[in-house]
Symmetry: C2
Subunit: 355 residues, 2 copies
DNA sequence: CCAATGTGTGACAGCGTTGTCAACAAACAG
DNA sequence: CTGTTTGTTGACAACGCTGTCACACATTGG
């Protein structure tokens, strides 16, 4: 391992190259490469020798060179434009775990909505970095133009919670309708008969699914739907406050309010406190998402947990599998959608209604 | 632009290379390279011609090739191990903005604390990806072994909020002591004389600074410090609940409680609600960090905003400047610490005490 | 007017890896 | 025992770019 004559700057250590390993193990560099890539047809003894040399020299392959020579860059792009830190954090944790396990690295890129040409921006990123695949989070996963561009480019991608499953070859998602249905059913089983609902942002696909879940549950249990118990919110705390105030202004009060996300549920809670309604004694409140705020309210908020981390990990799995398969055979994988199970998290904000 | 004979897989588009651009502009590839890297000694007319060809072919340089040939990878590593989504999100947004602006990409890596050898893990990452520099967030920025390894390796790095400024060549930070001092002073100015304090996690460097700020402010305003008004918390909601209960159990109640972070302040709020104390009428409550929860409580929480995004952007700036300079001259930059200004965010949880 | 010094440009050799293909040994079928 | 397949290895040429150096052509000072 000789210091390269082109070395520059104050780097203090020299790194072993595949050449050094080959020399150490007394094989050709190609053989080292084979071991590195887990290719077949290397005698176990030889493989062992190479592995030993690798460890001895503390060698790790140069990604740039691998990317240049081969076709894989061992880079996965994570495209995001999500206002919710909690959501993105979960996605990153999940995706990162799988990528690392498979020897891939995660490149994150924000797609600011104000950017004129998100599509071009993404394509440029791909051209530069030669990522092996990309993970799309909502609302980027909703962007038709982006999806089309990726398809055109032949870039493997997986969408997290896309609005229409049929649009994408690979995706992971959760059954928002079913989750809302379950939560509503849970409230009904507790004995609630008048359940208010605060709708989510009208442009958010999942929001209407949640509302539909609520309606279906009511109808399936023979409860008459009451228009006055439903208000249009926008996923914000403030809209939750407004809606809760509107709902609680009526003459026939509900005994429970189900909000389409936790922030709005927190707003409803604030209103209840303000009006002197005890939770859950006078009013049960349920949220959706299990964001950190759900455990920081008093009382703790009953809500629905989306398995974000697991979903992201699943997304990464799907993507990595496709990348490997493609590299192996060149055949595109069939469309695959993996559904993840939600979970009702029971905290102290819901209970049997006072009669 | 001929399709490479080594092309493989279902890629549907071929990308222009520097060769294509050179041919198009009728210059040598080296000249294109010069234009790409903004080198001197290219006649304006030639530069223009090259730029035109680049645009015409929609060319963007291959990072892997650049990294392999030159010494820069145009990759910045973001090392993190932060339990707070809000914090990490801010850091990423800030860092990403600057990196993109300078043509760099962001590679994120988690350092799970349970991992046996964080240092080795980081070094391997560096060896593989050849990042040009790394950004360290707390608590990784506290890890002596990691810092030492990076120094040894000659890898430029910048630390966000390191415990000791002198330890690192490059860092950004905020004056936690001063911030707590200011908040305490604000409460004193409102007329509060008995102010409770909930301390942060004893192992967190910033936590003790915040406590010191509280003490200094009291002492500077001639207020006697009372041991019973201070409790040891752990940054969690639950510890906030416990501490607030303990503080409010005494005979002489405080008129305000200042918690070392927002989660604990939320806990204190819950306790106040539970005890029937009105906020801010009977009890003012202040937090620290301005996490999303501060706007989701009722009433809104008065707290201190750390300019996370700006700090991260500043960190990226510092790092990128160093990288460029180093590449230019090979001389290491002098140690640089940039301090950022905090800001008191006034919401509804604090007011003049009832007499 | 000549040497000495810039400028602008290009030829060419790497950078550290993988793909291709050939060489050879061992195992197998006829 | 021969011809063929299968398994194992290596030589060598890419991959797309940058560093080095050389060269042609101004420009300058004596």
């Amino acid at each position: 391992m000789v210091k390269s004559p082109r070395a520059k700057g104050p780097r203090t250590v020299t790194r072993a190259t595949i050449n050094d390993v080959a020399r150490e193990a007394n094989v050709a560099i190609k053989t080292v490469s084979r071991v590195l890539n887990n290719e077949a047809n290397v005698r176990p003894a030889t493989r062992e020798r190479v592995l030993h040399a690798i460890k001895a020299l503390n060698y790790s392959p140069n990604l740039a060179a691998r990317g240049l020579a081969g076709s894989k860059s061992f880079l996965i792009g994570l495209l995001y434009d999500n206002p919710s830190p909690h959501y993105m954090n979960g996605v990153q944790i999940g995706a990162l775990a799988r990528c690392r396990a498979e020897g891939f690295h995660l490149l994150v890129e924000v797609c600011t909505p104000e950017t004129k040409n998100v599509t071009q921006q993404i394509l440029t990123m791909i051209a530069q970095t030669r990522v092996d695949g990309v993970i799309l989070t909502p609302p980027v996963s909703d962007n038709e133009a982006v999806l089309e561009a990726l398809r055109r480019d032949g870039m493997p991608y997986v969408a997290i919670a896309p609005p229409k499953l049929s649009d994408v070859p690979l995706c992971v998602h959760m059954d928002d309708l079913r989750a809302a249905y379950d939560m509503t059913t849970y409230l009904l089983k507790l004995g609630h008969r008048r359940i208010g609902f605060i709708k989510g942002h009208p442009q958010h696909g999942a929001a209407s699914l949640r509302y539909n879940g609520y309606r279906e549950a009511l109808s399936d249990h023979g409860i008459k739907f009451e228009r006055t118990l439903v208000k249009q919110g926008y996923f914000s705390f403030e809209s939750g406050v407004d809606c809760a105030n509107a709902i609680l202004q009526g003459s026939a009060l509900p005994t429970a309010i189900f909000a389409a996300n936790d922030d709005m549920a927190a707003g409803a809670m604030a209103v209840a406190h303000q009006r002197g309604l005890s939770i859950p004694g006078d009013l049960s409140i349920a949220g959706f998402d299990d964001t950190p705020v759900a455990s920081l309210t008093w009382p703790g908020l009953t809500t629905i947990r989306q398995p974000i981390v697991e979903m992201a990990a699943g997304a990464a799995d799907l993507l990595l599998a496709t990348i490997k398969e493609r590299h192996h055979a060149g055949t595109p994988a069939v469309a695959l959608a993996r559904r993840f199970q939600h979970e009702i998290v029971l905290r102290a904000s819901t209970a049997v209604p006072r009669t």
